[in-house]
Amino acid sequence: MHSRKPFYILVALLFIAGIASSIYRSVEHNIPFFPGEQVQSWAIDAKVSFNGQGQPAEVDFALPNDPAFEVLVENASSPGYGLNINQTEDQRRAVWSIRQANGQQSLYYRVTLVPTGKTKIKAGEELPSAKPYSWPVTELSAAEQIISEVWERSASNQSFAQQLMAKINDVNQSQNMSLLLASNTPTELFVRMLNTKEIPARIVNGLVLEDQRRRQQLDQMVQVYHDGYWKLFDVNNNIQGREDNVVLWESKGNSVLDVIGGTNSQVNFSMLQDTRPALSTSIDMMMNAQDDWDFSLYQLPIEEQSLFKGILLIPIGVLVVVFLRVIIGIKTSGTFMPVLIALAFIQTTLLTGLIGFLLIVAFGLMIRSYLSSLNLLLISRISAVIIVVIFIIGFFTLISFKLGLSEGLTITFFPMIILAWTIERMSILWEEEGPKHVFVSGGGSLFVATIAYLAMNNSLVQHWVFNFLGIHLVLLSVVLVMGQYTGYRLTELKRFKPLAGEK
């Protein structure tokens, strides 16, 4: 017998590939593992206002640039203005322009942000350089004194910055510090002192997110370079580290808002927290990414998508049938007829489906028993049964419509050719083996169809088979392994019981 090794390797590969691609999908595209999962999103309105002076005006406004948040939707409203969104060196900026701006001007930018959870900010390839600040003569010695004092008590960029921030925020300030703070803002002072020791640091603008807040301003914060990452310090509030509710609106040390041809410019933010389905959020973001090589079904038109939602359920039904036949040993009439019946059940719902199926088959059997006495050729007899099945379905649909039972209308989802064959086979079974066998094998089929339906109708299963296509590789590997099962079926344990008992 040839080696089974390649087979098991194949199965293992399929299994691992399936699991891995599902995990990749979940991690990379944020597809939630469970249906109905919600994510928080933030709708942020930025209102840029300035006074026009009757001359051309150009407004250059930084757009949020933070790996911790992904832009889901953004739009700008600015009647009469030309708008350009520029992308320069990782920084996106909106540039509004107009030939003549008179009086109070308001420009709006609205964005919906979704947290990604990537709050660590990696520094670029080349090490940012720090330009030492040249202190005014009056401040020089005070600054140097503090810097060397803190330097002594620190070990790294980070600890130096920590100590420094603590010192700046110290309630019992030294005279040196008071002197420096008189002419520098705490944030400026912090950056300047860091730069003096050639530690890269820069001022960034962050927005603290809080539900239903209006007229908020950006906070100046400081990013300090440490071991390949930018660490965030909020000197004004004496907070070190990144909190989940902070968006770095501008993080390259540039200005947030430049207005040419206007005065008294300012920007205000208002924000609203929102929950939205995690799945559709992820899909929207994938669509935004516009990746041509992303093979996902979401790119199909909605109609094809819903078609595939049905088709992708078939492997689940097939798996159920394989399991119930190979491992449990239930007999069905027709190998995969139960899957087709289960597919119909999904359209009709279980109870309506069962009743409809029984009605059609019962009426079909009655008509078939008449046809059998006509001595027809098999092909034309089955054709006659198909046509009669269509009549029956039409009849029941009409009746239920007249009675106002909308469930009855779904009976049309039953595959007619399958029904006709079922009726034909059951009728033969009835003649040859008696009604008992008809009920046993028909009951077995309906039982398997019901189990398959319950599996296929499970919302978790439906979510997985459509959104994680890797699952189908896992199903394939499981089916292949079951094809190797040489053990006893559950029903055989009962059947062969007499052989096990005696010694």
């Binding site: 190979v326 050729l377 092909i379 083996e433 079926r489 344990l493 062969f496």
Partner: protein
Amino acid sequence: MNFAWPWELRRKGVMNMNQRNISYIGRYNPRKFYKRVDDKLVTKQLALANDIAVPDLIGVVDEQHKIEDIPQMVANRDGFVIKPAKGSGGKGILVITKVHNGCYYKPNGHEVTPAEIYRHVSNTLSGLFSLGGKPDVAIVEGLIEFDPVFNGISYEGVPDIRLIIFKGFPVMGMLRCSTAESDGKANLHQGAVGIGLDIATGKSLHAVQFDEPVKLHPDTQFPLDQVQVPNWDTLLHTASSAYEMCELGYLGTDMVLDKKRGPLLLELNARPGLAIQIANGKGIIPRLKHIEAMQGPLMPVADRVAYAKKHFSTDSKF
């Protein structure tokens, strides 16, 4: 508890369906030889060519318009059998034991009109009884005059002898007797009595109906421990030589005893069922393993039969 533990069954060497399909049928029965057993007409022709006794072939109906020739075919016979060439599980077999005034009668005395025979054959040709609904032909065979030695063992039907032939060795056998419950059919799942037979002697070992041990035939009250199949050696030889004929390693042979002609080969089965184990009260795996472990060239039929008689004999369980 109604269920056996799987390891108990394994220890007893009970073969299960999945194991049969993968380890025996899949491994020892090459697909290309299936036609030799799935088509009873081919089987019959092969058997005739190999000097294996089979029931008379009266005629073959392979086209709808030839159905009308049937009355002529069977004109001077008391009884006949119409069976589909590709039927399975005994489906579509029509047995006529009496012809009277142009009317036909089944063994239970029910009348069959010529029209019903036409329809039956027409259905057969359309593939109603064949696997997968493939078009089929109907075989008209002579009726077997079954050996009176089995009188009282079977009810309304001919008992047949099923032997499992593995790589040419008879490994297990049983006698299948119809009952009122099985409606004259010899299929165990329909209620026929299965009697396990000793390979060495052809004597009954154990009997079951619906998987439960029985001592007497439920209809005739015949004591089932008294059964002795006559012509046992001829039977073993005929069945074993079917291996050369069809080249299937794991084979079921169905035979009947004719009053005049002795054992006749009825049909071969490439997928014999597992009920024979229950009828014998014994798992078949140890015997199959025994044969699988054997080395050397293929023995002639007589040696194989002798070998099997020596090694696969069991004590009666009555």
